[in-house]
């Protein structure tokens, strides 16, 4: 491994393919140290007593400087390049300037990561275990870490942290995500509605409904307060009421209770209620294909592979923003409930008088289609 003279090569780190490329015309000492980086820790300790250990100096944007063992620093491709190409980092005065997105605490974490993984002898299980613990940090730190790893081009760490971020996002509503990541609610009304934009220029009923629902929620929270602000909002509410009356038509009730389709995401949050992995389910359900109208065509089972779509069709374009609850005016809801009960009562009161058969005959006569034939449930096509 110790080769003098001019040569160029590409080394491949055994762990996750981190590549460190460097060209000829490196000084012997660099080659020597690189070769040492490939040796095991035990070998190093034998031939490299503490006093000969080389350190690299790294400087963050805020000016703070950290010192780290060279083999650890070399694990990071960007730093590796700096050392080899520009010869920087070998002393405090020539510390390697790190990108802006690498703050000191992220740097520490990254170096911990490098220190662990650059040791070649570890098992996959050990590495995995380390990784799992490594990303158990608060979201803010995780974001910083991801950003830093990305600017240092440390791909394995970028993957690890990105997956961790994805796990945080998974199954949550936009509001929840905003809370966790401290993100601004800055979507314009156009953008919010984008999947729902109505090119016919009708009043934006959905947005208003949504705002109405939000308003109602805010009102409930501030029920104790009897200040002017509430009064003002109530005024707004009244105009929304009017609008809803218009939408809901002649005094009839508007949407049903289920109009409040409160985030399917909420269901997903609770692992107890989780159906098993969606994609598998997709595959099975997609199997329902029918013989087309011309009988005699030979068909085989329809294969599954839906690109994570249909039933995962939990939401599908263009209606993926599960936030489709149209808040229903409680007064109208009550009215609807009453109507339903009334209806049910009337139904039940005449129930004993009706024979199943008699009713069937009545229904049947209604169902005979215009062409005089009674349609059958032709199940055999129903693959």
């Amino acid at each position: 491994q110790l080769v003098a003279g001019h040569w160029s090569t590409r080394w491949r780190n055994t762990y996750k393919g981190v590549t460190c490329k460097f060209s000829a015309a490196s000084s012997f000492s660099h080659i020597f140290f690189l070769a040492l980086a490939r040796m095991s820790e035990s070998e190093l300790s034998v031939i490299k007593p503490e006093s000969l250990k080389t350190y690299i100096w790294l400087q963050c944007f805020d000016g703070s400087i950290q010192q780290v063992e060279e083999e650890v620093a070399m694990f990071c491709p960007m730093i590796c390049r700096e050392i080899v190409k520009n010869g920087t980092g070998s002393s405090k005065n020539h510390a390697i300037a790190l990108p802006e997105r690498v703050n000191p605490s992220s740097l520490s974490l990254i170096l911990d990561y490098c220190r662990f993984h650059q040791v070649p002898g570890r098992s996959n299980k050990e590495r995995k275990s380390f990784d799992e613990k490594f990303v158990r940090i608060d979201t803010e730190k995780l974001c910083e870490l991801t950003s830093a790893a990305d600017s240092l081009q440390l791909k394995p760490l970028v993957d690890l942290t990105s997956r961790a971020l994805a796990r945080i996002i998974e199954g949550k509503t936009p509001e929840e995500i905003r809370d966790i990541f401290h993100l601004p609610d800055d979507l314009t009304e156009e953008e919010k509605l984008e999947p729902l934009k109505n090119i016919n220029d009708d009043p934006r009923i959905r947005l208003l409904n949504r705002l109405y629902a939000k308003k109602r929620k805010e009102l409930q929270e501030r029920q104790k307060l009897k200040d002017i602000q509430v009064q003002q909002e109530q005024k707004d509410e009244r105009s929304l009421d009017e609008l809803l009356c218009f939408i809901n038509g002649d005094g009839g009730s508007g949407g049903g209770k289920a109009g409040k389709n409160k985030k399917k995401n909420k269901r997903r949050k609770d692992p107890k209620n989780l159906p098993k992995a969606d994609p598998e389910h997709v595959n099975k359900e997609e199997g329902a294909c029918a013989v087309p109208c011309n009988a005699g065509a030979v068909n085989n089972i329809s294969r599954a592979p839906c690109p994570s779509s249909d039933v995962q069709d939990d939401n599908e374009y263009p209606f993926e923003d599960g936030d489709l609850d149209d808040g229903l005016d409680p007064a109208m809801q009550e009215e609807l409930d009453r109507e339903v009960e009334d209806f049910a009562r009337r139904l039940n009161s005449v129930w004993p008088e009706r024979m199943h058969l008699g009713q069937e005959r009545r229904i049947e006569s209604q169902l005979i289609g215009g062409n005089g034939s009674l349609q059958r449930f032709s199940g055999f096509n129903h693959r």
Partner: protein, 588 residues
């Protein structure tokens, strides 16, 4: 009425929180479901951009829900798209021809905006030869074409695909109606072409050049799925298998050859070489004597589709009983109760069972009753999806099934004769189906049949908390039934109803619900035009389509409010009313 978020003290987010786009995109790439991506896109402006620019897979479950151009503009990096067209009841002949669902606008928009598109899937759509030609010439890295229950194209279109798509990996034609132009589409694969992994032409009626097929199969070493059509005789199947012993999925096409011992030996030897075979299908008017040729692969099979196989009797049962690792079984009711009892005893890993009627209008000579389903539900702990056609059912059986298998996610029971009551008690089957929805908390798809009153819908509405698709026919007593469904079933997406006494009231009372659903189909119910008009007026983001007799000539505007509506199809859309309706469809 400001935007609430703006008041939440969102000063410019600290720099450490603003992840760069490539980082966001990378994180999003690990999100498992499109819904998660949708949620991420709704978080803030930055995330919206990062998400939609990096979206790779797009599923459009209703081709009329959005305009193709809008979809392409919004998601410029899509590599795989799936679009579905006609409503499900089109499979039952309830949608007349020329209804719409043309794939052409989607192909055109994709050709324009997604030059790197690799996968395209269409279901229940009209795909023309021009579409196929455009696909072949527009996407230089096109790899996967999947057409399911489509029509409008011929083998000439297929020739364009096989000739033009140099990187094709999958050509999957499932249950399409394909016109045979005697074009040797298979021959258009260049001799240098070897990338095929899936070839399914089982729905094709015509002949294919066998020599060409054989050469193709020989040189495509990655071929995993091969599903042949009727035209390939049994002995040819054997020789193909010898060329492709690496197959994972095989569809044999028809085999009704007379028994010849040497052919049997050939088949047996060929199958013995297929160590990786896991999925088997075919239209077997099979001579039972050939079944033992398959014995060597039985142990490895996870999926068996005999839904077109008229083979019956002890040989069939013996064959299935050897498939100990079966997860998916599609079979005809010729298997009968005692056959299912054997399945129950042998196939403990069964997850999905479909039993189809061999003679739906017949006199019921087949001995398939509720017994078979009860047995399977009792002995197959992983069973979660059922489609079962039978002639009779009892509440007791359903209650037992519900107790045995609370893990059902899909339960579709089709009692052949409409409004059949419990044959023992002569009562309605309300109790049975109620037990199903109460027990199976994860139920996502349900089809009900038999004699049912409004009470079952009360139960479904109250308990169907995961229910996404519901199919109802010849059931219910009054508006209340529909009202229970629409006001309950929080996650309902597709509702299809035929021949039920449901009228206008529940529809109007639950109009807002319809915007949270993908679509509603109601045919032969008690709807009138006035209600449809009201619905359309209230809900501008829904398209309200009505279909009447094709013979009717007067425009819908002139009809009075109390005119009956034969078929109503309502779906949410952001694209406004479609412009390609045939004469018999009116958009209200």
């Amino acid at each position: 009425m400001g935007r609430g978020g703006a008041r939440d003290g969102a000063a410019a987010a600290p720099p450490w929180h603003s992840l760069p786009d490539e980082v966001l995109e990378h994180a999003f790439s690990f999100l498992p479901a499109a819904a998660d991506r949708g949620a991420a896109a709704a978080v803030c402006h930055g995330w919206l951009g990062a998400e939609r620019r990096s979206r790779r897979r797009l599923a459009v479950a209703n081709c009329y829900a959005a305009a193709p151009r809008d979809a392409v503009d919004r998601f410029p990096s899509v590599r795989a798209a799936e679009v579905k067209g006609k409503p499900h009841f089109a499979d039952f002949g309830l949608v007349p021809p020329a209804w719409g669902a043309e794939a052409a606008p989607w192909v055109a928009a994709a050709a324009d905006g997604w030059p790197l598109l690799e996968e395209l899937s269409f279901k229940r759509m009209v795909v023309t030869d021009e579409c196929l030609e455009m696909i072949a010439s527009s996407f230089r890295n096109f790899q996967v074409l999947r057409l399911v229950s489509c029509e409008g194209f011929s083998t000439a279109g297929l020739a364009a695909i096989t000739e033009g798509c140099r990187n094709l990996r999958e050509l999957d034609l499932q249950e399409n109606y394909i016109e045979d132009c005697s074009s040797h589409w298979l021959s258009y694969f260049p001799e240098s072409f070897t990338s095929l992994e899936t070839l399914n032409f089982s729905c094709l009626e015509g002949e294919v050049n066998f020599a060409v097929l054989e050469r193709l199969v020989s040189r495509c070493r990655n071929l995993k799925t091969l599903k042949l059509n009727n035209a390939i005789p049994l002995d040819k199947v054997a020789s193909l298998l010898r060329k492709a012993p690496q197959l994972v999925e095989l569809g044999t096409g028809k085999f009704s050859a007379e028994y010849h011992s040497d052919l049997f030996a050939k088949l047996e030897a060929a199958f013995a070489g297929c160590k990786s075979l896991r999925r088997l299908s075919g239209a077997w008017d099979a001579v039972p004597d050939y079944l033992p040729a398959f014995y060597c692969v039985c142990e490895g099979l996870t999926s068996l589709n005999l839904s077109y196989a008229t083979v019956r009797g002890p040989e069939l049962i013996k064959f299935i009983s050897r498939c100990k690792n079966l997860q998916q079984l599609w079979v005809m009711d010729l298997i009968e109760d005692h056959g299912l009892a054997v399945v129950a005893g042998s196939c403990s890993k069964l997850q999905e069972l479909r039993v189809f009627p061999s003679d739906p209008f017949g006199a019921g000579q087949v001995l398939l009753t509720e017994r078979g389903l009860v047995d399977v539900s009792a002995s197959c702990p992983m069973l979660e999806s059922v489609l079962y056609f039978c002639g009779q059912m009892t509440n007791e059986a359903l209650i037992t099934i519900a107790k045995n298998r609370p893990n059902f996610t899909c339960f579709r029971l089709c009692i052949l004769e409409p409004r059949t009551p419990d044959y023992v008690t002569r009562e309605s089957l309300d109790a049975g189906f109620s037990a199903i929805v109460e027990s199976c908390k994860g139920l996502r798809r349900l089809s009900v049949s038999g004699l049912l009153t409004d009470l079952v819908f009360k139960s479904i509405g109250a308990n169907g908390n995961c229910l996404e698709m519901l199919s109802i026919a010849f059931a219910g007593n009054s508006d209340l039934g529909l009202h229970y469904i629409l006001s309950g079933c929080k996650t309902l997406k597709k509702l299809e109803i035929r021949d039920c006494p449901f009228g206008n009231k529940p529809l109007l009372a639950n109009a807002a619900k319809l915007e949270t659903m993908r679509s509603l189909w109601m045919s032969s119910c008690s709807l009138t035009l006035g209600a449809c008009r009201q619905l359309a007026e209230k809900m501008p983001r829904l398209t309200v389509e009505i279909m009447n007799d094709p013979g009717r000539t007067c425009p819908v505007e002139s009809l009075p409010d109390d005119s009956p509506v034969e078929t109503l199809y309502v779906y949410r859309t952001i694209a406004g009313p479609r412009s390609d309706t045939p004469d018999y469809v009116q958009i209200v």
